[in-house]
Symmetry: C2
Subunit: 344 residues, 2 copies
């Protein structure tokens, strides 16, 4: 049960002023004398006055709320992005309303609807896998600013914050090549995953630019990239007549599955087979050997996303930007890949 709270009216009554004067005094309006302002502010502090933000939002048609939709809060990478979002939103004076879609497309639509209904000023989202029907999102685009991050789609014309997936992947593969590896396998997702495809492009380009032939046997797609899949796919690769000398798993979790399996078969890492992951999850330093991986600066992604979104919210024109912003990653070389060039 809520207790009632001090309002403008109460202040006005006690000070023998009009409500409008009190309101203006608290908002530091130039029309009000310093003397009055002081009196008002003092009493307001004393009575612990807090403006009813609902009345405010209602009046100004602005809630100072930003809605965030992401597939899963428990993913470490998502959590770091969230951290960046929370921090920067606070700086900018916005509150954040977070929801999880659990990769459920229907739920994602519902969340969007709820957000609108709640009158958020803008939406930040990472779209669910296999979001095919983007009609809901397109419909919303001219009503409210939306910024996509991490899991994005070029089919949606709005600002998108992503990681330089292709380049990161390219560099990871080049690192392997520079250490003398020539038969580099990739464990990727099916073609519906945006980031997987871009990482795959980087893989292809690195091989091409280094004049290494592509062996289709070394390219493995699977539906999800769990640890278990990493295990299975590794066994598959080890069954090949012509084995790989390095495995690039598009995700840390899968990479750990790879490492565990290689260890089980007593294969030396990185001498026999090197392993690289993607994400720099916390696991990557727990596993032994420590995993070489691509660090994605989650906090920065979150921060950037908020910055662009707020810019759109506070812009007076109803423009729709559709820039793509790339956040730079860095390759972190650890024990699962060779450090220096190895001449055979």
């Amino acid at each position: 049960m809520k207790k009632k709270i001090c309002t403008l009216k109460e202040l006005a009554l006690k000070l023998n002023l009009s409500i409008s004067t009190v309101s203006r005094a608290l908002n530091n309006h130039p029309d009000i004398s310093n003397e009055t302002k002081l009196k008002v502010v003092n009493l307001a502090n004393k009575l612990n006055y807090t403006p009813n933000l609902f009345a405010q939002g209602f009046r100004k048609n602005k809630t100072n709320m930003i809605g965030v939709i992401l597939p899963n809060v428990t993913h470490y990478f998502s959590a770091t992005i969230l951290k960046g979002i929370l921090k920067q939103a606070e700086v900018k004076g916005y509150r954040v309303f977070i929801t999880e879609s659990n990769n459920n497309v229907k739920k994602q639509s519902e969340m969007l609807h709820t957000m609108m209904q709640f009158g958020v000023d803008g939406i930040l989202m990472s779209i669910s896998k296999k979001t095919k029907n983007i009609k809901d999102i397109l419909d919303l685009l001219d009503k409210i600013p939306i910024v996509l991050f991490d899991k994005v789609s070029y089919k949606i014309p709005c600002t998108q914050i992503v990681v330089n997936e292709e380049e990161a992947s390219f560099k990871a593969i080049e690192h392997l090549i520079h250490t003398g590896k020539k038969r580099i396998a990739i464990i990727k997702e099916d073609e519906f995953s945006f980031s997987s495809e871009r990482r795959f492009e980087g893989y292809l380009r690195a091989l091409k630019e280094n004049a290494i032939d592509i062996d289709k046997n070394l390219i493995i797609s699977c539906e999800d990239l769990s640890l278990e899949q990493g295990r299975r796919m590794t066994k598959l690769l080890l069954g090949l007549k012509n084995k790989p000398d390095a495995i690039f798993a598009i995700t840390d979790t899968a990479a750990i599955g790879v490492i565990k399996t290689l260890k089980k078969f007593n294969i030396k890492i990185p001498e026999d087979i090197a392993v690289i992951g993607f994400s720099n999850s916390l696991h990557s330093t727990i596993i032994e050997p420590k995993l070489t991986t691509v660090d994605q600066p989650g906090e920065k992604i979150g921060k950037t996303a908020i910055e662009y979104l707020v810019k759109e919210i506070e812009s007076s024109e109803a423009y729709v930007s559709s820039k793509t912003i790339e956040i730079k990653t860095t390759l972190i070389v650890r024990d699962s890949s060779l450090k220096t060039t190895s001449f055979i």
Copy 2:
């Protein structure tokens, strides 16, 4: 920039009805004929009408928002609790507004204030370490329902959702004793940590009930429970003349530091020294040997917290409950401790 949205007035105009009738029709008020209701609902759907929740909240003095304050979103355990909170809040028809205190007491106070200002219906919080000045919180208690979870304090008279820390710890130690371990070390936090102290109590009770003498050398307190501390404390324990045959680290992270160090010194786990952690974090199955640990059902904690909070919010009386609810944990035996009794 926001576009304007269909309102009650617009519906009323198009249907040649009054605003009140439209409002009642949408709220399924018995006074309105089915015929009219149908017409209204149809048009509302067609025009994609969504009630302005700000106006609603404003009018009804209820925001259907719950504020959540926790130290750190990126901790896996916090994230699982969050998941439970989000899920159950949705079921109950509440929205959740999440903030991070980063274990910063000053920030925690600010967040509380912001939440009040924003008019949340209730607050869910996990308090920062070393929160000494609980005056802010006490002040709020009679204005708004608060439920504490995970990091709690008995000094605050409100509902608290915790894990059966003492019992869990007791069972973990008994498990070690049943496998023949007699010199069981504990790595705990200093006495300001609520949960650490309760786990320590469980440790003491288990030893006592099994008639094992307490060796003060085996009880180690440190300020934080990082992996690095786990490492350091293990070295310290290994320096003892009379070494332990098991180490209970009060946190998975520290336990992993323990394991890494033991492996470095070629000590057999669990034969020479067994290791137990607490949390069942994702790391516990990544590390080799896999860690025996106590599983804390985060989602359930979150769910329960919401349930109790909502109950208080929706209760008409301004009662202040101060029950403590214990959520049951389970010990998960993995490879870092012996499975069966070993008779020497």
